[in-house]
Amino acid sequence: MPLWVDKHRPKDLSQLTYHDDTTSRLKSLAEDPHSLPHLLFYGPSGAGKKTRISCLLKAIYGNGAERLRLDKRTFKTPTNRSVDVNMICSNYHIELNPGDAGIYDRFVVQEVIKEMAANKSLNAGGGIMGISASTEEDDSKKKKAVEYKIVVLMEVDKLTKQAQAALRRTMEKYSSTCRLILCCNNQSKVIDPLRSRCLGMRIAAPSHDDVCVALKNVAAKEKITLPDKLTIGIAEECSRNLRRAMLMLETSRVNAGSTVLRDNQGIHKTDWEMFILQLARDITMEQSPQKLIAAREKLYELLINCIPATLILKTLTMELIQNLDDELKYEVIEAAAFYEHRIAMGSKDIFHLEAFVAKFMTIYKKYLNDMFA
C-alpha cells in the first residue's frame, strides 16, 4: 500500500488545488508544446514543484510519460573514474539529480544532455491534453509537434558553478531536440546566465487554507472523518509543507487506530523537533560552560541523524524566540542569520552551530542580569 502522499498526488494539471494562476499558465504551455521554453521551477520543499513538473510532462506527452523506470547509469569520467547516477526515465523524458555525482556533476550533466539530444524523440504516445478526452486528430497533430525530449534536473542549486556553466552552453546548443526543466529550492544559488535562459516558475508554499483543502480532499478519499480543529492544527504544524502535512495526516490516522480522528489526539511531531525543543529548553534554563558542553552533545546527535545544520539552526531559533522580549528577538535572529550564512558558505557546521548557541546564552544571560541586577 503506497503512502497517501504518493497515492493522492495529483496526476493531472486539472487536479491541482492551489496556485491556479500557475496551473493555467502551465496548461497553456502544454497546449502549444512547440513554444515550450526551458523551465526553472523554484520554491520551498513540499510546495508541489515536482508534482507540477510531472503533471506538465503528462500534459505534453500523454500517459506515456507516466510509465517510469528507474535506471542506474555509470559514467566514465575523463580521469577514468566511474560515477553512478540514478535516474528516472520514461520514453520522453529523463530525470536525474546530478548532485549525486559530486564533483563530477559537470561531466554527468553534459553527457546526459548530449545523449538525449543525439536521439530524437520516439514520439510513440504523442501528446494528449490531459483535461479533455482527446480525439484522434488531436493526437496526430501533437505527434508532429513534440519533437524534443525533456531532461529534468533536480536540485540544480546544489550543482557546482562549473556544472551550471556547462549547462548553459549545452542547453543552447541542443535546444532544438532537448528541453530542460530545472528544479531547485533556492533560486539565488543558480547562476544568472542560467536563470535568464529559463522561464522561472515560482511555486510558493501553500497557504494554511490550501493545506486544509488538500487535507480534507485526501480525508474524503480515504473515507476518514477529519475534524476541523485537527486539520487546522496539522496545517499550522506542517510549516506549509504539503508533503509533511500528508505524512502527518497519515501518522495521525495510524496513531488513532481507527478511521475516526479526534480533535484532541495531538499531532505527531518529528522526533528531531522534540529534540530541538528540549535543547532550546535546556539553554534557556541555565547559561554556563557546562550547559554549552551538554548542548553540544545534542547538536552532535542531531547532525549524526542527518538533520541539515541550517534546519537545526532555523528550528532552534524559532523555538528560542518564542518566549523572548522583542528587543532580544532582534538580536537572536540577527545572530541566527549570521551563522546560517556561515553554515551555507562553509563546511564546518558544528563550529557555527555552537557559536550560535554560545551567542544566545550570552545574550540571554546578559538580559537576565540587566533585568534583576
Binding site: L3, S45, K50, L70, E286, I293, C306, N323, R342, A358
Partner: protein, 622 residues
C-alpha cells in the same frame, strides 16, 4: 636593543619560511643573507643541511662511495670520536656501560643484566659510544638495522619482524660462528649485539608478535645486547614508549637496564667544536657563538657539526670566517637551527591552558623593551608565555586538526559564558576562513590568519579561566560525528531507494531526492506509518535513548504546548532565583545521567500518552 629585536624577528621568519608568506626582502640586509649568496657550493653539503639527521641518512653518508676526496670528507665522519676520551657523554655513564660490557665475558660475574637500553635524544653519541667501546674492548658488533635488510633471496617478501627474529636467533649464542656480515670471522671473538633500529610495528598483532620474540630472546640470550632508543618525544623518554616494544615485566626486571643519556652539555660541545676549529685552522669565534650553537642544536652534536661544516667548511681559504668575530653569533641565528618539534598534545596544552608570564618578570621585561608596554596597558594582563603561531608551526598537527581540537576542548577551560561566546565566534571566523574556496584565496593568508586565531583565541578571550586541573585531551568528536553522519546517510539513502521501489511501482515522490530532506521531512513520519519498512534502521539511526529522555523529562505534560508553558514557567523561576535553582539542576541530571529513573517514570506514565511513550522496550536496552 634595536638590533636584538630585529634578530628575533629574523629568527622567527627563518624558522618558518613556507607557512608565512611574508616578504623577507625588507630584512634581507642582515649580513647572513649576503653571506649565503657568496657561499661556493660544496659537493657534499647537499642533503644533510636540512635533515634532522635521522639514522639512515647518516649511514648513507658514511658510505665511502660518496666521498670524493679527503678534503671534502664530512666533518661528522672526519671528527668522529675514536677513543673514549673524545666522547661527549658523561664519564659516569660511559664507565657504567664499559664495566657492564667487560663483566659480561667475565666468568665470575653475577650481574644479571643482559640487555641495556640507551635512551636519549638524537645525535648525542649513543651509537658512537658503543662502537668506540667495542673497538677498545675488541668486541665484534652484530648489528641489526632495518635499512640493511633486503628482500630475501628466495624472492618472497619476508616481514621485517621475521627477519628480526631470525637475526635474534642467530646471535643469541656469542661463541658460535654467526655469520651476519662476514662468515669467516673468528668464532672466539667476543661479540655484542647492537640493535640500532627497530622494525616498524603497524598493527596490534605485529606488536604482540614482536614483544613475544623479543622477550624470548632476552631470556635466553648469552650475548650482551644494547638497544639504542632515540624516539623519545621532545627529547624526553617516556616509559610507555618502550613498553610498546617490551613487556613491562621484562622491561623492569633486573635483566634489563635502561640508561638515559643526557644531551651534550655546553662545555662538552664547546670543547668538541673548538677542536674542530683548531684542526681546520679556522679562527675561533667569540664565546657567544658556542653558547648559541648549544641552544640552537639542543645538545645534538651531529647536527651541530654538520651545520658547522656548512657554515665554514667549504671555503677554500680556511682563514675566511663567515663573520666578524665581534658580532659573531648574530647571523648564525638565521642559519637553519635544528627544528624544534612539539608533540601534538604539548602544543594543544600550551594553547588551551594559555599560561601567562608572571607579573614580576613581566615588569622587568618591560623596562628593557618598551614596545611591550602598549599591550600591557591595553589588556592589564601579562603576556602569554608562548608565541601561538610558533607553537602551531612546531607541532605536527595541521591547522584543521588543531582548530577542531582547540574548539572541542576549549569550553572546559572557561568559566564565563560570554567569554566562550567570544571564543566561539572567533573559531567560527577561523573555520570560515579555512573554508573559503580556493579561487578566492589567491594567497596563503587565510591559513595564516586562521592559525593565529586558533592559537590566540583561548588566551585572549579567557579572562577568567576555570580553575586549573587535569583534563584529558581526547580526539574531538567532530570526526566521529562526520563518520556516523556518513554511515547514516548511506542507510537512509538505501531506505529511500527501497521505498521508491516498493511493491514494484515507483512511490515516494517518484524522485531522486536529497537524503537530507528525506531524513528530516519524511522519515520521522514514515517510521510511524510503516514501521516494518524502516525497522532495520530505526534502532541504530535515530538514537531512541535521547529522544525518549527528551520525552521522559516532560512526563507531566500531555502535549508540546504544555512543554512550552513549562519552559516559560521555568524561565520565570529561574529569573526569580537568580539562575541558581537546585531543582532545575536535578532535573537536568536526570535527563543526562540517570537514565534509569527516567525510564521508570516513562514506564509508569507510559499509558497516559501513548503517542510519545509507546516504546519503553528500547529504553530498557539502553
Amino acid at each position: 636593543m634595536e638590533t636584538s629585536k630585529l634578530k628575533r624577528i629574523v629568527k622567527r621568519r627563518r624558522a618558518q619560511p613556507s607557512a608565512l608568506a611574508w616578504p623577507v626582502g625588507g630584512i634581507g640586509n642582515v649580513n647572513s643573507n649576503n653571506k649565503l649568496t657568496s657561499v661556493k657550493p660544496s659537493p657534499i653539503t647537499n642533503s644533510s643541511i636540512n635533515s634532522t639527521a635521522s639514522h639512515s641518512k647518516v649511514r648513507r653518508h658514511r658510505n665511502p662511495s660518496i666521498r670524493q676526496n679527503k678534503s671534502s670528507q664530512q666533518w661528522i665522519d672526519k671528527y668522529q670520536p675514536r677513543s673514549i676520551k673524545e666522547l661527549c657523554i658523561a664519564p659516569a655513564k660511559i664507565s657504567l656501560v664499559q664495566n657492564w660490557l667487560e663483566s659480561k665475558y667475565d666468568k665470575e660475574c653475577i650481574d644479571p643484566t643482559k640487555f641495556i637500553i640507551l635512551a636519549g635524544a638524537t645525535g648525542i653519541g649513543k651509537s658512537t659510544l658503543i662502537r668506540v667501546l667495542a673497538k677498545e674492548l675488541g668486541y665484534r658488533i652484530l648489528e641489526w638495522n632495518e635499512s640493511f635488510m633486503e628482500y630475501s633471496r628466495q624472492g618472497g617478501y619476508q616481514s621485517s619482524i621475521q627477519q628480526f627474529q631470525e637475526f635474534l636467533d642467530s646471535v643469541s649464542f656469542p661463541y658460535e660462528a654467526v655469520s651476519i656480515s662476514d662468515g669467516a670471522s673468528a668464532p672466539a671473538k667476543k661479540s655484542l649485539v647492537l640493535i640500532d633500529d627497530l622494525p616498524h610495528l603497524h598493527t596490534q598483532e605485529q606488536k604482540v608478535q614482536f614483544q613475544h620474540c623479543f622477550n624470548a630472546y632476552i631470556q635466553k640470550t648469552q650475548t650482551p645486547t644494547v638497544m639504542i632508543y632515540s624516539n623519545g618525544s621532545e627529547g624526553k623518554l617516556k616509559p610507555d614508549d618502550l613498553e610498546e616494544y617490551l613487556d613491562p615485566q621484562i622491561l623492569y626486571s633486573p635483566l634489563v637496564n635502561i640508561i638515559q643519556i643526557n644531551p651534550v652539555t655546553k662545555a662538552k660541545m664547546k670543547t668538541c667544536l673548538m677542536k674542530i676549529f683548531q684542526k681546520e685552522g679556522i679562527r675561533i669565534p667569540s664565546p657567544d657563538f658556542f653558547e648559541e650553537m648549544h641552544l640552537k642544536h639542543a645538545g645534538d652534536m651531529r647536527h651541530a657539526i654538520m651545520n658547522l661544516q656548512f657554515q665554514y667548511g667549504s671555503f677554500e681559504g680556511k682563514g675566511f670566517i663567515g663573520r666578524n668575530s665581534t658580532n659573531s653569533g648574530v647571523s648564525t641565528t638565521s642559519m637553519d637551527s635544528r627544528d624544534k618539534k612539539l608533540s601534538t598534545f604539548h602544543a594543544l596544552g600550551k594553547i588551551l591552558y594559555a599560561k601567562r608570564v608572571d607579573q614580576v618578570s613581566q615588569r622587568s621585561l618591560n623596562q628593557e623593551e618598551d614596545y611591550h608596554d602598549y599591550s600591557w596597558n591595553l589588556d592589564k594582563r601579562p603576556q602569554l608565555q608562548f608565541d601561538a603561531e610558533t607553537v602551531l608551526e612546531e607541532s605536527d598537527i595541521g591547522i584543521h586538526g588543531a582548530l577542531n581540537f582547540v574548539q572541542f576542548h576549549s569550553p572546559d577551560f572557561f568559566s564565563e559564558i560570554s567569554e566562550i561566546n567570544q571564543a566561539f565566534s572567533n573559531f567560527s571566523d577561523a573555520a570560515y576562513l579555512l573554508d573559503s574556496p580556493y579561487e578566492l584565496r589567491g594567497s596563503l593568508f587565510p591559513e595564516a590568519y586562521a592559525t593565529s586565531i586558533c592559537g590566540r583565541t583561548v588566551g585572549d578571550t579567557n579572562k577568567h579561566p576555570a580553575p586549573s586541573k587535569f583534563r584529558q585531551l581526547t580526539a574531538p568528536k567532530t570526526y566521529e560525528v562526520k563518520r556516523k553522519q556518513n554511515e547514516n546517510m548511506i542507510k537512509i539513502e538505501n531506505i529511500c531507494r527501497r521505498l521508491t521501489y516498493r511493491e514494484h511501482h515507483l512511490a515516494l515522490d517518484v524522485n531522486v531526492r536529497s537524503s537530507h530532506d528525506f531524513a528530516s521531512d519524511a522519515l520521522p513520519f514514515i517510521k510511524r506509518i510503516i514501521p516494518e519498512e524502516v525497522a532495520t534502521l530505526s534502532s541504530d539511526i535515530f538514537s531512541q535513548r535521547n529522544i525518549n529522555i527528551a520525552n521522559a523529562n516532560n512526563v507531566d505534560n500531555d502535549s508540546i504546548n504544555d512543554v512550552k508553558i513549562q519552559v516559560s514557567q521555568q524561565t520565570e523561576v529561574l529569573t526569580r532565583d537568580d539562575i541558581v535553582d537546585s531543582s532545575d539542576d536535578e532535573d537536568i541530571c536526570n535527563g543526562n545521567v540517570n537514565a534509569s529513573t527516567c525510564m521508570n517514570d516513562s514506564n509508569k506514565n507510559g499509558a497516559k500518552f501513548d503517542h510519545t511513550e509507546n516504546e519503553p522496550d528500547i529504553i530498557v536496552i539502553e
